[in-house]
C-alpha cells in the first residue's frame, strides 16, 4: 500500500516536474510561479518549544504570498518535523532535496541537526541558509561555502562581554561557570579572545558542570570563595536559574553576566526569583516583544498585526516568534536580490552580499552585513540590565566583527 502510494506520488511528481524542469533548466525548486523552500524544525520531542519558529516562518511566507510573492513567484514552504533527532534531520533534509526538489534548505534548527547535514549540503551544493544555532562553525566560507548562520554566534557574544568589561570594570576578578561542552567552550573562547592578554590576569577561577549534574550549588560556592567580583554565567536555563538563586542566597553580589541563551524572564529569572535577578546583565539583538518600551514602536505594531492575522495561535510573549519573523524577512531579502537568477549559486552569492540590511525587529542600530569572507550575518548586540521587572538597555551597540 504504502510503497504503491509512494510510486504513484513519485510518478506524478516526475510527470509534473519534467515540463517545468525543461523550461527552467537552471536549478530545482524554481518555476515561473513558485520558489520551493525546505525546512526542518522540532515540532515534537525535547526541543519542541522551538517549533514555534518554524510556524512563524511559515506564517510570514504566507503573508508574502498574499501580498503578491517575490517577483511574481509564490513561496512554497515545506517544513518537516525532525524531533531534534539528527538521523531524522538527515532523512527529512534528503527528502526535501531529492524528492521535493527544493531550491534551498532554510533555518534547520539545532546544532546537532545542522552538523548532521553540513557535509551533505555542501557536497550536494544546496544552500543551507541562516541555520538556527549559535555555534561559531557555520561561519566558514572557505570550508563550507553552502552553509551560513544568522544569529550572533556564541564567540561573538563572549567577545562583547569582554569588551564591556575591559572598558567599564577596572580591577575585575572574573569567575566563570560554563557547561562542559562545545556550547560552553565556544562562549569561553570568545570571552578569552576578547580579553586578549588580560585574560590570564583577570580570570581567577573557571568552574564547569555537566548537563547531567543535579545542581551547580558547589560551583557557585567555589566561585564566591575565589574572591571573584565578576561572574560570567554560561549556562542553559535550568542551571542559570539555580546559579542566580544560589549566588543570591549565599550573599555573593558580583557583576553578573548571564548568556543570552538563558535571558528569558519567564523561564529563568522568575524561577530564580526576580529580586535575585536584579542587576543581571545580558546581551540582546532582537526587540523583546514583552518589553513595554516598544509598545508604540512601528516595527512592533507591524509584527503584532502580522501575528494576529497570520499566526493567531502564536504566543505573543515568545521571542521565538520575533526570531522566525525576522529571519524570514532576511530570506525574502535574499530572494529579492536574486531577481530572476534563482540558481543555487546566486542564492549563496546574494546571501553573502547583504549590505547594512535592516530588519525592523532587530534593535535600532543593528544591521545585517555579509560578504564572501563573512558568513556571520548578525554580529552586533547591546547589553541590557534587569531592573527587577524587565531588561533595560544601557550600553551602546557593540560590534563583534570589529573585535579580534
Amino acid at each position: 500500500m504504502r510503497s504503491k502510494n509512494t510510486f504513484l506520488a513519485l510518478a506524478l511528481t516526475l510527470a509534473l516536474a519534467l515540463p517545468y524542469g525543461m523550461a527552467w533548466a537552471a536549478d530545482p525548486g524554481v518555476t515561473a510561479t513558485e520558489i520551493k523552500i525546505g525546512n526542518t524544525n522540532p515540532y515534537s520531542g525535547p526541543a519542541s518549544a522551538y517549533g514555534t519558529i518554524g510556524k512563524a516562518i511559515g506564517a510570514y511566507f504566507k503573508k508574502v504570498n498574499e501580498e503578491g510573492g517575490i517577483n511574481g513567484r509564490k513561496i512554497n514552504f515545506i517544513t518537516y518535523d525532525d524531533a531534534y533527532s539528527p538521523p531524522k534531520t538527515v532523512e527529512m533534509v534528503r527528502k526535501l532535496v531529492e524528492q521535493d526538489q527544493v531550491l534551498l534548505v532554510f533555518q534547520p534548527l539545532g546544532t546537532p541537526s545542522n552538523s548532521s547535514i553540513h557535509k551533505y549540503m555542501n557536497e550536494q551544493q544546496v544552500p543551507q541558509l541562516f541555520v538556527a544555532t549559535g555555534a561559531t562553525k557555520w561561519n566558514d566560507p572557505k570550508g563550507h561555502p553552502w552553509t551560513m548562520g544568522w544569529q550572533p554566534n556564541y564567540q561573538t557574544e563572549g567577545k562583547i562581554y569582554a569588551a564591556y568589561l575591559l572598558k567599564n570594570i577596572p580591577n575585575a576578578k572574573v569567575g566563570i561557570l560554563y557547561q562542559n561542552d562545545d556550547y560552553g567552550k565556544d562562549y569561553v573562547k570568545g570571552f578569552k579572545d576578547g580579553l586578549g592578554d588580560a585574560a590570564k590576569k583577570v580570570i581567577v577561577m573557571e568552574q564547569t558542570y555537566e548537563v547531567t549534574d543535579p545542581t551547580v550549588d558547589s560551583q557557585i560556592v567555589n566561585l564566591k570563595n575565589s574572591g571573584a567580583n565578576v561572574f560570567f554565567n554560561v549556562t542553559t536555563p535550568k542551571f542559570a536559574a539555580q546559579a542566580i538563586k544560589k549566588a543570591f542566597e549565599i550573599g555573593w553580589k558580583p557583576t553578573h553576566f548571564v548568556n543570552n541563551v538563558s535571558a528569558s524572564v519567564g523561564a529563568v529569572l522568575k524561577p530564580a526569583g526576580l529580586e535575585a535577578s536584579q542587576g543581571l546583565i545580558t546581551s540582546q539583538y532582537l526587540k523583546d516583544p514583552t518589553d513595554p518600551q516598544w509598545k508604540n514602536d512601528k516595527a512592533y505594531l507591524d509584527w503584532l498585526a502580522f501575528m494576529k492575522k497570520y499566526y493567531p495561535d502564536g504566543d505573543l510573549t515568545d521571542g521565538g516568534n520575533v526570531f522566525g519573523y525576522s529571519v524570514a524577512q532576511t530570506m525574502v531579502q535574499v530572494l529579492k536580490q536574486c531577481g530572476n537568477d534563482l540558481s543555487r549559486a546566486n542564492v549563496m552569492k546574494q546571501a553573502a552580499n547583504l549590505k547594512d540590511f535592516e530588519v525592523p525587529m532587530l534593535l535600532p542600530g543593528i544591521k545585517i552585513n555579509t560578504s564572501p569572507t563573512d558568513f556571520a550575518p548578525i554580529e552586533q548586540e547591546r547589553l541590557v540590565k534587569f531592573d527587577g521587572k524587565e531588561w533595560v538597555g544601557f550600553s551602546e551597540i557593540y560590534d563583534g566583527s570589529k573585535m579580534k
Binding site: R2, T6, L10, Y43, S44, G45, P46, T79, Y80, D81, A83, Y84, S85, P86, P87, V90, E91, R94, K95, V97, E98, Q99, G110, T111, P112, S113, S115, S116, H118, K119, Y120, D181, D182, Y183, E210, V211, T212
Partner: protein, 340 residues
Amino acid sequence: MTAEQTASAEALVAARAAARSAELPRAWRLAGLAVVLATACVLPLVLTGFLVFQFTLVLVYAIALLGLNMLTGFNGQISLGHGAFYALGAYTTAIMIDRWHVPYAWTIPAAGVVCLVVGFLFGIPALRLEGIYLALATFALALSVPQIFKYFDEWTGGSQGIVLSKPKPPWGLPISADQWLYYFTLAVMIILFVLGWNLLRGRTGRAIMAIRDNPIAAEAMGVNNALYKSLTFGVSACYTGIAGALSALSIAFVAPDTFNIFLSITFLVGIVIGGLGSISGAIFGALFTQFVPNYAQDISKAAPWAIYGIFLILFMYVMPRGVAGAIRMLWRLARQRPRG
C-alpha cells in the same frame, strides 16, 4: 504404557499438529522468501536515492528489532534499553573510522563483538531482575549511555558528535553510494537473519523459549538458565549493535541526541507491532518504525504523534499478535474455510 501416558502422548501429537497447521507450509514459505529477497534486491535499482536511503534504514531497523526480539520475544526478557547498544555499535564504528581510519567493513564485526561482550556482562546482573524490574534497569542504561558518550568528548566529539564520510562503492561498481550501502546492509542482514534462524530453531532456541515459558521446568530439564539468559542478552545486544554500526554508516553522523530514550521505546513498539517471537516480524516492525511516523506527519502536521498513536492502537486492536501473527492467523482461516 498407562492410559494417562497414552492420553498425554496423544495430546502432545495433537498439539504439534495444531502448531504445524498454524504455520505456513514449507513450499509457501520458501516462495514467499524468494519474492521478498528478489524485491529487496531490485528495490534500489528502481527507486530514487532518498527512498533507497529510507529502505536502508528499514534493513538497519530490522536487524535491531531481530536482536531485541530474541531477547524479549523469544526469551521473555523485556528491554527498554536497546537504544544503548545501538548507540554503542554506532560509536564503535564511528570512532574506529574517524580516529583509527579502520576500513568501514571491519568496524561492523568489531561493533558486534563489543556489544556482545557488553551485553553479556550486563546480562549477568540482569539475571536477578525479572519482567518490569529488568525493563527499568535497561531503561536506566538507555538514559545514561548517551551522556556517558558525551563525557568522553575527546573520543566521541561530545555533543557535536562525529561526522563520517559515506562509503563509496568498491571495485568500480557502477552504482551510487546509497545503492552500495543498501546492498552492503542487505548482505549483513541476510547473514544475521540466517544465523538467527539457525540459532532459534535448534536446541538453543528451544532452551531460550523454554526459559520464557517456564523457567523452573527449563531448569529441571537441564537448561542452564543463567548462562542462556546472559548469552541471549549478549547476542541480542550484538545484533542491535551491528544495526547501530550500519546506521552510523548510512546517516554518516553520530551524536548523543540520536540515541534518546525514544529510540529504545521505538524498538519495543517495533517488535510488538511486527510480532513477538517471530523472525519475519522484525521486518514488518522495521517497516512500521520507518514509515508510520512519516505517514502520520503527512496526514497531520499539527498532531503527528496523535495519528501515530491511533495507528498503534489500531494495529494492536486488529493484530494483537503483531503483523506476523496476523498473517499466520489469516492463513489458518483460509485453510479452515473450505472444510467448514
